[in-house]
Symmetry: D2
Subunit: 365 residues, 4 copies
């Protein structure tokens, strides 16, 4: 089938110009002035902008986490995404302990099966790196996965030690893959969380106090340094603060192929939000920081010191005790209320906050 | 007894002036022009400079290490020091696993007993931090020890994990003590050493290749960041390279009370020395770096970006198979030859190199 | 007339893709797969890249300078340009003392008349800014000129004082125009040239010694600062050295809308070239610098710290005493030989060096 | 005569210790414990600190300026200074047009004659540099003057052009003298003052608006760059803002022997003070800046990026229409009221503000 989109203004990464677009087989076949409509369905785009679909490179649909599961699955999440203009995304297939990486990929493909309505890809998150898993890494490329994710945070859950991270980097460099890292010092954060809980400091804002900016900054340089030694390219996910970005700049200035991502939550929210009655909505990891950090991130994006904005979309309902209606069906999953009275149990992920911010991946229930 | 030193030029930290000095009871009682000699032994210092004695804040006399022991004990080391103008030093009492910190202090005092000929003090190096040891920390102050040393390096020997380092910093901050850290990423270095040995890369220069500058730089920022979170002052020992000093500057520019030390070996030697036939003499940890790093350190000292020069005096004989004469006695200890054919077994510490460089702590046998 | 270019690979600022191009009336009418050839002249571009034509924003064709005139006129220069892939350029109409700016524009249009073979535009260089000229500035916009050029260099010829530069910036800001500046301290350079000549230091390399990097760096910050006070955007032409680029970065980091240009000669040549027997070929202003500066400029371009590469094409024949054949005609103009034996008289502009470097504007006779 | 100061605590640049001081012939003859009092007048300093007297290296006593003269002469100024603990100072002998430098020195010595009560020295400010004056420069050293001051500001009064400044630097380098510069762009400031006055913008705060920070910053780098080319050491007086200090740091980081001074007014006051009813008291040049600049200067002093604090003591009475009593005499000079209604006529110099800030040089009438 052919579709002719007439009269719009095309915007590409470099140019803005008036042109008709002729689509054939789902691809743009022709661009130009006054294209002939013969045999095509015609869409009038007069006065409209025609943009490429957005790509969200960091999402967690249907992620099991904190004793529940992220509230968006591959249908609800993608449906929301496409309404917001995001037409493809990359999710994380997370290896369970003892599992192969290919098994992780299959697990996530299974989640997407019968649900996906837009394009998606997968990163693989390594949590258990034995020799068998090491040997398996290069074969992921032919399965369409070219990125490995590792965590310096979430001690006892996802966290790997430095030697593991370093070995994965060596292997990735060899296989032409990219390593992504969640940079926070899990050991120190784990101690601080336990210490705050033990002392009865349970309020939501202690989430941020247990995850200080310096713990992210040092982990960022640690990942950068290890990548530098391993000769591997590096992509640091969800950078939140001036100190971390400074380290990224330092690594780049020393010639290392390292890149950084930030997310809308770090551009707009601060620890003040955690002190609101609905502060649990704003609990994500790393945490939201200060207004000065918000500004710093905007400037870093503008100056090219940060390379990517993605969402880290991993939503949890604010009140999972009540079913909600979604396309006529009852929908219910435990959410932020799991952490009522104890910040350390609040699922870490931004609540769908459709009335405030249109995430790249779109609003959620 | 009174001593009058006449006619010299006194140099203090701030001034240079001609003055006589009258000593009483081992202290300077008077300074001035033409002091009366009555009842005093007179020393003619005409044409001479009178300087305060040097203080070397980083030494390891009689340290058991790499299956042998550092070749200088409290007599030979201090004797050499004082001939070089160093009149006091601070050594490290290192806790053995399972031992109390006070026991470590006693062990080192025992080494010094009957041997010490100049003033000395002790830092305590924590290698095993359980709750009993934690509770013991503040009491060190009244025993004259106000500094704690921890290692991010020497995996399986001295290395502590980040939570341990952080807890020690919290306690030190509480007790008004200073934390010193050997900053290198022990996990990655341990992997690299094993990997090099496994692949038969055994030459001396692989010592430096297994201890890359980035492994020191990231550990430096890690220590700085943890100190920043803990609110503790920090002193980083033996900084060797531009990347580490840059991190120190960064921490200081962010207002953290962090200080850094370098050593003569890092100001004068490079990895080229490791490739000499007697390269083992230059094996120390962290390793010697590049000529550009030498220059950077000199500039950093000059600009005040580094605060201290100490020696990390921890010498090993180059050839411990032969006895040498020292004050008429035969003296023999295993030394650098332990690592012949395998860099990973060379005792880490600069050989006494009296023909090249007068270390602050003086030449050694 | 319609032209269909078939089978090529189109390269835009953002994308690379296979497409046919249909040209109508000198413009691209359609891009797409398998465009119909009906009625069009067909060009087979199989295996070829289709790129946009280059734009050289800094040229001086037929410029009267140093008692002669640049060797390329609007025909020879543009012809060379288009063979090199440059399809448009912007030249500088330079105001003579006492002349109006519109007169300068007309003078330059006259030079181009009957000669121009590609698109060109004009900047206007102000050398004499009285109140009448001030009032005339905004009217240039409707004449198609939106950029003003001023010189801090060439004392007694083009140089303006700081108040003049500042007033021009105020007026440009008001009129929505861009100010370009040649940043070198003309007073100090003039003194150094005279001083070198007076002391018989006449060799070609004294051209560079009389134009030190610091003289460019300070003038760069001076222009940036004045633009910052005036609220005017600024474009610094032909930046050559680390110190200047550092100042540009500083201005940009402080939020000022300032941009910088470098040229091929500053990316490839050094003062060593001035010491060659044909060193006069490499005399341009500012002068070529060091190999370290070359590297710094490449890095600055790569990191986005410099925004533009243009040529400052202002060629002079190396030996103007001999006629050369150009399209069958004898061609002769005085050139670099004017400065034989006295660096201060060498026309400042790169000799056409077609055997070394394809300038953006193309090779010249 | 001998004086014994007993029981005080001596503070030197490096140390603090208890000691008696024996003074003989106006000098410290002995320091020590329990010095014998024989034949000496004894002063009990129990509980007191004994500090060296302060040195103020930047003052303008009895300076003719803005149609009046600074309100402190060598008696009133020095008397105030010594009460504040400042026991020596260096004033500026300013060359009048057409005058020799030695004449300037004599003029200022004449002002001091019969009035001076503490030690003082002189810098010489060059305002008219012809060849005779150039030749005279080195001879100043034997007259006790080793510093030359030049102005980039005060167009038509003190300002010199860049070639003059540069030539003075060359001569100073040759003669082993130090060049001090008042760094502000006089051309642009002069234009802005005239422009503000012409538009009726006469309020006191337009003093600061006519002297923007960028005009100081660029002039600072200009002086640094010229000193760098000339190979001369440089001392920039009264630095007031972040941008200028950044340039000083840049020059120092590039290895140039350049130093900077700030003054109490720039550490404590802001443009808010200019909007007070008595804002004229705070008119000095360069002007007071922002609170952020105050902070930046404190940090720069603390970090060693600025080297000196001096006062630029050049006071004018706030209301010179009324005589005041000083040591029983009537004292009257025109002051800040000269600029009532026109900021450009307010004498540039801080009013004696004894109730707010003890200037190094002490309070004034």
């Amino acid at each position: 089938m052919r579709t002719l989109i007439k009269g719009g203004t095309v915007i590409t990464a470099a140019d803005t110009f008036a042109a008709d677009l002729l689509l054939e087989g789902g691809r743009i076949a022709q661009m130009g002035a006054d294209l002939p409509a013969a045999g095509a369905r015609v869409v009038d785009a007069g006065g409209m902008l025609l943009l490429p679909g957005g790509i969200d490179v960091h999402t967690h649909l249907e992620l099991p986490f904190f004793g529940t599961v992220a509230s968006d699955d591959f249908y609800t999440g993608q449906r929301a995404a496409v309404f917001g203009g995001t037409t493809s995304h990359i999710d994380f297939a997370i290896q369970h302990k003892g599992e192969s990486l290919h098994q992780a990929v299959e697990n996530w493909q299974h989640k997407a099966q019968d649900k996906a309505v837009i394009d998606y890809g997968l990163h693989v998150a390594i949590t258990d790196l034995n020799d068998t898993v090491m040997a398996e890494i290069p074969s992921l490329v032919s399965a369409g996965v070219t990125t490995l994710k590792l965590f310096q945070a979430y001690k006892g859950v996802y966290q790997v030690d430095d030697a593991t991270l370093f070995r994965a980097m060596l292997k990735a460099a060899e296989a032409g893959m990219l390593v992504m890292v969640h940079c926070e010092n899990g050991d120190v954060i784990d101690f601080m969380i336990r210490d705050n809980v033990a002392h009865g400091r349970l309020a939501t804002e202690y989430h941020a106090r247990s995850h200080p900016a310096w713990a992210e900054a040092e982990a960022s340089l640690r990942a950068i340094a290890l990548a530098g030694i391993a000769g591997a390219p590096l992509y640091i996910v969800h950078m939140t603060c001036a100190e971390s970005v400074d380290q990224l700049r330092y690594g780049r200035a020393r010639g290392l192929p390292v890149m950084g991502e930030t997310c809308p939550q770090y551009l707009f929210f601060t620890t003040d939000n955690l002190r609101q009655p609905d502060g649990a909505k704003y609990v994500c990891s790393p945490p939201v920081r200060t207004a000065a950090d918000n500004d710093y991130l905007w400037q870093a994006l503008s100056a090219g010191h940060l390379q990517v904005v993605a969402t880290d979309h991993c939503p949890f309902l604010f009140d999972g005790t009540q079913a909600i209606k979604y396309e006529g069906e009852n929908y219910q999953k435990p959410g932020k209320e799991l952490g009522a009275g104890d910040f350390s149990k609040i699922p870490n992920g931004m609540h769908g906050i459709e009335d405030r911010l249109l995430l790249l991946c779109g609003p959620t229930a």
